[in-house]
């Protein structure tokens, strides 16, 4: 079956440092990957949408300079949170699209805490 592995599950970083999270699609080809941040109120913010062989599209309030994303092939994507501060805390979810099924599969998320 289709699975998305996301790691690390939890991470703590000091304010001003950076951390990288990874997303691995298994059992399908992830033609596009969307990165979301879930707030404590449970709402989702789309950070960016990455499609293989296309430019990565960032949403308003999110930039490549702050959240650089790599999507080198159909099974892997990574995102880095640069210079993390308290407002960057939250659960970061990777959603990988299986275009053959038109279904989005999510990883378990990376929970970022910032000290």
């Amino acid at each position: 079956g289709a699975l998305v592995y996301q790691y690390p599950r939890r991470t703590i970083c000091k304010s001003g440092t950076s951390m990288r999270m990874e997303c691995q699609a298994v059992g399908f080809q992830a033609t596009s990957v969307a990165w979301y941040r879930q707030s404590p109120q449970k709402t989702f913010e789309l950070i960016a949408l990455s499609t293989v062989n296309s430019a990565i599209k960032y949403e308003q309030n999110f930039t490549q300079e702050k959240f650089p994303i790599s999507h080198p092939n159909l099974s892997f994507s990574s995102m880095t949170v640069l210079n993390a501060y308290l407002e960057d805390r939250g659960l970061y979810l990777c959603g990988a699209r299986d275009s053959s099924q038109n279904t989005l599969y999510f990883g378990a998320g990376t929970r970022l805490s910032v000290l």
């Binding site: 996301q6 596009s32 969307a34 709402t43 949408l49 599209k57 979810l93 989005l104 999510f106 378990a108």
Partner: protein, 113 residues
């Protein structure tokens, strides 16, 4: 206007009772609709999806949902809930050709023993 509306932020039911979680969407074309469940401290798990055909779709763990174009709805149902169904449920719409999706705000389901 919000693309996906889940009007109930929290629903409480007794174990063994039936359940309906409501979802309304806004889109004039043919939507792709999904229900996901999020258990505490976990990511999103796909329950079921609808593209076309039979408006009643079956999902995992006894869940089903019914698509209604006339009502612009995609309500989730279960005949008999279990305490382990307690979680947050998200209705999701995919309507754009550029792969954007829209989340409802989620409904917190509490199942009382």
């Amino acid at each position: 206007a919000q693309s996906v509306t889940q009007p109930d932020a929290r629903v409480t039911v007794s174990e063994g009772a039936s359940l309906q979680l409501r979802c309304k969407y806004s889109y004039s074309g043919t939507p792709y609709l999904f229900w996901y469940v999020q258990y505490p401290r976990q990511g999103l798990q796909l329950l079921l999806k609808y593209y076309s055909g039979d408006p009643v779709v079956q999902g995992v763990n006894g869940f089903e949902a019914e698509f209604s174009k006339s009502n612009s709805s995609f309500h989730l149902r279960k005949a008999s809930v279990h305490w382990s169904d307690s979680a947050v449920y998200f209705c999701v719409l995919n309507r754009d050709s550029n792969n954007r999706i829209f989340f409802g705000d989620g409904t917190q389901l509490v199942v009382k023993p």
